[in-house]
């Protein structure tokens, strides 16, 4: 359940921004989670309310935007969409594919008061 650790990191980042950007409460948190990242959106949703309780983001709404997985084939240089880290190239069948998008786990933006 490293999702709980990740959410504690989210909470820490919100607290830092609250000081720097002068807000007191967060009502909405939007995360961008890549399809090839190692977090489970459902587990984030499950843990979010628990970790944010008694913090500046208590009762905040959580939005998770999924980013597609993208890779480039080293053999034929085509860009392909990836569902998993081990998808072969759909054009030439090579398994030598470099991931270029989809590992992201970012806090995109917040709605604050």
């Amino acid at each position: 359940m490293h999702e709980l650790s990740l959410l504690e990191n989210v909470r820490g980042i919100l607290e830092d921004h609250a000081l720097k950007q002068n807000f007191r409460r967060v009502t909405k948190v939007t995360l961008e989670i890549g399809k090839l990242s190692c977090v489970e959106p459902e587990a984030l949703r499950f843990g979010f309310d628990v970790v944010m309780k008694d913090s500046l983001a208590e009762n905040a709404e959580l939005i998770i935007a999924e980013l597609a997985g993208l890779g480039v084939c080293r053999q034929c240089q085509q860009q392909i969409e990836m569902e998993t880290l081990y998808d072969p190239c759909g054009y030439c069948g090579s398994s030598l594919v470099t991931v270029i998008q989809g590992s992201e786990m970012r806090i995109k933006d917040l709605i604050v008061i």
Binding site: H2, N9, E15, F23, L85, L96, M105
Partner: protein, 265 residues
Amino acid sequence: MCGICGCGQTNTTAKLKPVLGQRQHLLKHDHSHHGHVRDHHSHNDNHSERLVKVEQDLLSKNNAYAAQNRTYFQQHHIFTLNLVSSPGAGKTTLLVETIKVLKDRFPIAVIEGDQQTERDADRIRATGVPALQINTGRACHLDAHGTGHAVMELGVKDYSLLAIENVGNLVCPSSFDLGEAHKVVVLSVTEGDDKPIKYPDMFHAADLMIINKTDLLPYVDFDEARCIQYARQVNPDIQIIQLSATKGDNFSAWTDWLVENLSPQ
């Protein structure tokens, strides 16, 4: 004050709870702030909502600590490996045997991560090499902040090999950079040969895969060629060494790899 992260935590103990530790700094700071919020928000809601752009990685705090660790390791010529595997793949035995072969060539230090007990650190100390056990408690991985403190407490010598044995877990430790030069994933032949595609994040993050317990191959249904193919599918650049830590088969391939990588470039 901590020599790596400067966080002011002087009394480090082996039982670090890194993530919680970070939070405690913040919570002390924020309690009065929270009270203030509650006093006001009932009549302030919806008046001044605004959008704040963050665009920050969820792991940005850990990554910042990892970057500090990495700088420290470079300045002190410490070659650091983060060893990961499922429980029981043979990480500690691999380290014990490695220490026996290499301890007279250069200083070695070990950080052991487990949820509970000092058992692994005790096994390492029995070889005469300093080891520090981090008990992560409920956490399923080491993080960079706790690792930095462990490095300070252990007093790792310049020009050392520092081996960090992570909590036995093929999922969570893949995300947490500790500042290491390489992640090394250990897979034993008593596990399935399809582990690289069942747990792709870890094999994607690792630079070297060690297939351990090869002496048991005649007794198990483990296809080495298939395992290697799966690993390369997930990570085309992964290096692979097959060995038996207990019997010593092909062990020099691993110690040669260490010596080669440890020597100043």
